[in-house]
Every structure is written in C-alpha cells, then in structure tokens.
Symmetry: C2
Subunit: 281 residues, 2 copies
C-alpha cells in the first residue's frame, strides 16, 4: 500500500459487527479477495493482529488471536474425556481446531468437514501455522455439507461445530434438528461443542441454541473466552452431552502446549458472569 502523510498505510479493513457497531483495523496489504462458490473470501495483513481471514466481511481468524478460539473450542471438550479417539470439526476450514485436537495423543482420527474447499486452500497458502496439521495422517479433510456428513457419521467422541455466523448456509448448523443428528453420531459418552457467539450481543441466539441442544441432550453447559477480534471481545461456547461432564484425570498433568487454555481454566471457563448465568437458567 502507498503510505499516507503519517508514514502509515491509510487503508483499513472494517467489519460491521452489527449495523451499528464496527471494528476497524489498519491494513498493510490485501493478499486475497475473491468470491468462492459459497462466500466472499478476504485475506489482509493487519497492523494489530497480523494476517486476517474474513468471510462475507466477518473476521474468522487472525494470526495473533486465533489461539484463543482454537484452543478453547477443542481442549475444553477433549479434556472432559479420558481417551478421545475420533473427533470431527464441522466448518473450521482454516484447520486451527484440527491442529489443537491432534495435540491429544489418544486421537486416532480428526475429521474436518468444510463445505468450501477454497477456505482450506487459502488457509494452506496464507495461514501455514494454523493449517499445519491438515497434512497429518490422522487428519481427514472432507469437502461436504456438515449436516449431510453428520447423518452418516457414527461413534464420534467429540463433534465441534466451528461455524460462521448464523446467516446463509450456516443457519442449519444452529438448529435443533442438527443437534439431534449430532446426538446420533456421538458415542454414549460423546460431547458436542458449538461456538455460540457473544453473550453481550447475541443473547437470543444463545437461548435458541440452548433450547435446541436440550431437545437432544440432557446436559447443556456454556463457557466463555476472550477473543478480541470477535464482536464484543467476549465469546461463548455451548457444550452438550448425555452424561455429566468433569475434567479427566489427565487434565492436570498434561504437557500439551497452549497459550490460552490451562488446566485451571478447564473448570474456571464455566464460571460465568451473572448475566450469562441467567442466559442459561
């Protein structure tokens, strides 16, 4: 980019997180901007958060804060189990969730079910540190509709719904019917985790997802993490199962390397602010 009179690029990426709320990031370059069969895909280099992937204008991941989301959507459910073997990620084409899942030595199969192959291609090209584990022999990439794929899946220990926001193609990933299908694809002790947006901004959606999960699961819990590039900076995850969950004994002694998740956060992430507790009542 040409530099302005301040000696800085004068080009910004702006996400309208709602129609009255925006996040602006100064960028150095646009690395990719294309229309795939499913969405608008943009890769820019930002000053504050490094390389950034946006889909339909919404930040999906950045090089500098991606670890929060990817660690928290994976390690929390996986550490509830003594020996997770078979895990699937619906969405999550950047590969970050797969990278974290494969840090668990018991995992034999990590399936990535991404509808848009161009997201995976882009991650491989522009986010090698995020997509790094997609070449692992335990990783299986399926370019498919997550809803259809889950219908034929069985015996999964963990299913992670790493979706975009609930608009367009992703809407079905937030419905009760999908959670019922997921329940059929999990083992008896299996766990579903889905990203469930911001407790400050998306309370109706969280209640809808909570109610949908309750049609298929006896236990539905919510936990949170701080993600600066997502709307409000505070994000939630709904976890559903048909048995009470508690951290596995292997949690405390783990040598898995993380930058956000810790053994103590495995429990503390479920300790919610009162207004979020009330969302789950």
């Amino acid at each position: 980019m040409v530099l302005g009179r301040t000696g800085k690029s004068e080009t910004w990426f702006t996400e309208y997180q709602t129609d009255s709320l925006s996040l602006g990031l100064r960028i150095h370059s646009v690395l990719q901007s294309k229309t795939t069969g499913f969405q608008e895909l943009l890769v820019v280099e930002t000053e504050t958060y490094g390389r950034l992937l946006a889909l339909d204008g919404a930040v999906q991941t950045t090089a500098r804060d991606e670890y929060v989301y990817h660690e928290m959507i994976t390690h929390v459910p996986l550490f509830m189990l003594d020996a997770p073997k078979k895990v699937a990620v619906i969405g999550g084409g950047d590969g970050g969730a797969i990278r974290e899942i494969l840090k668990h030595p018991t995992v034999e199969e990590a399936h990535l079910v991404e509808i848009d192959a161009e997201v995976v291609d882009t991650a491989r090209q522009y986010f090698p540190e995020i997509s790094v584990a997609l070449g692992d022999p335990r990783a299986h990439v399926h370019y498919a509709d997550g809803i259809e794929w889950v219908k034929n899946a069985r015996d999964l220990d963990v299913i992670i719904v790493d979706s975009t926001d609930p608009v367009g193609a992703a809407q079905g990933l937030f419905q009760a019917q999908f959670y019922q299908t997921i329940a059929g694809a999990l083992t008896q002790d299996g766990i579903l985790v889905a990203q469930s947006e911001s407790p400050f901004l998306h309370q109706d959606l969280i209640r809808q997802m909570r109610d949908g999960m309750r049609t298929a699961f006896s236990e539905v819990r919510l936990y949170c993490a701080a993600i600066p590039t997502y709307p409000s900076g505070f994000w939630s995850f709904l976890m559903a199962s048909n048995h009470p969950t508690a951290p596995s004994a292997r949690t405390m002694g783990t040598n898995i390397e993380t930058r956000y998740w810790t053994p103590d956060l495995q429990t503390a992430a479920f300790v919610l602010p009162r207004f979020v507790e009330e969302l789950m009542a």
Copy 2:
C-alpha cells in the same frame, strides 16, 4: 440527527483505541461536547451501548456495559475483607465505583477523589443511574489531585485507582512512587486495586505496574473481566496487599445485587489464560 437513506442516523462515534485499531458506534445524538480544564469531554447516545461518556476520545463508560467495570473494580477487593469501612476511589468521577462500594453495609466512608469536577457534574446530569450514590451521606466527593490527596490519607481499607489511560495527567497514577504513597495510606490489611488496561494490547504497561506495585507490596495479583467497549474487550485489574488475600466468609452468602460479579467469580476471575499468567511471572 437527520436520518440517512437507510432510515438510521449516519453519524458515528469512533475511538482510535490504538493508531491502527478502532471501535465505531452509531450514535443518535451528541448530548455534550466540551473542553474542561483537564480534557475533552463528550457524551453521546449510541445505538448499541446506550449513553456513552468519552474523555479525550476514549470510552470511559457506557450505560449498557458499565456494570462490568464498576462491579469488578470494587467487589473483588471489598470481598477480600470481612468488614471494609473506609474506601477511596482515585478518579472514577462518574460515581459508578462509589455506587458499588456503598452496597457493602460495613462501609462508613466512600471517598471519591476526582481532579475534574466537570466529569462529576456531567455524570450527575447525564448518567443518573451511575452517579446515583454520590448523594449518599457516606459518599465524600473531593475535587483534588489523587496523588496529593493520598499523601494525607490514612487508615483506608481499600484504595481503588479508577483512572483514565496512562497519558497526560493520569500518568502519575501508574508509577511506583504513587503505589508507595498508597501503601502508606492503607491499613495493615489494606488492599490496592488499579485498572491495568488490556492483557492483549498493553502488556508492557501491565509489567510496569506490576513491578511498581512490588516495590511497595508483597502480594501482587491480577484478575480480568470482559468489557466490550474497552480495547480488545478484555480488561485487567492489578490487586496489591501486604498479606495474602482470600475471599471473606461473607462472600458466599452475600445478597448484594450484581449483574456481572458472583461469589464464584470472586475466585475464578483470578484464573488467567496462560499468556496472562506469564505476564505476572
């Protein structure tokens, strides 16, 4: 404001949180915009977060998320003590911290030490629900320089540094010398809490404050809360004392009304993400 072609106001408030990162909020009206003896003061009505107070362009408080900051900067230190009686707030001219402090029935004196009387006047006029407790007979408002005021203060159970960002007049509130003065104004069991900015964006400052507090206190701990209108949405507070702190027995049975703080968060707020733990190492 005149409405644009979308039927919405086309006027926005934009905070440049760093020179490469901005938060934009659609506004309905500008209620006050003036230069005080100390700073630029702005009150606007936003669509997303209601009424907003900015000083020198930085969001200080909004009607819809102020409870997070005000509850977490006060209840966490106060619930470490069995019977806090005398508390001071340095800065915090909106009165929100005083409102929360006075929910503790043992408190006899809550001192507000604000350098800029126009901030207090503005809070009284435009934020009645935040400044509501300033008329309480236990509340004492001092229009003074916090550093000078603390030099003559004694026997405080808790001192809360509710400052603006560390630029201009507020810089002295982030220095080791100020923390040493505070140590002299506290009781033996007294506690200092200071807002310490974002763990994502202001790591050097947090380390500097940590080191400054360690020159005057044996125990320095950090806790966090989610504040959507502050940079990165994730905020930290440093707590310092000359004795190990633990939640008072009155914490669990409290009937203090809150929207963010809970008895369980009193402990869980100190369980930090790994990268924040490392900041305190």
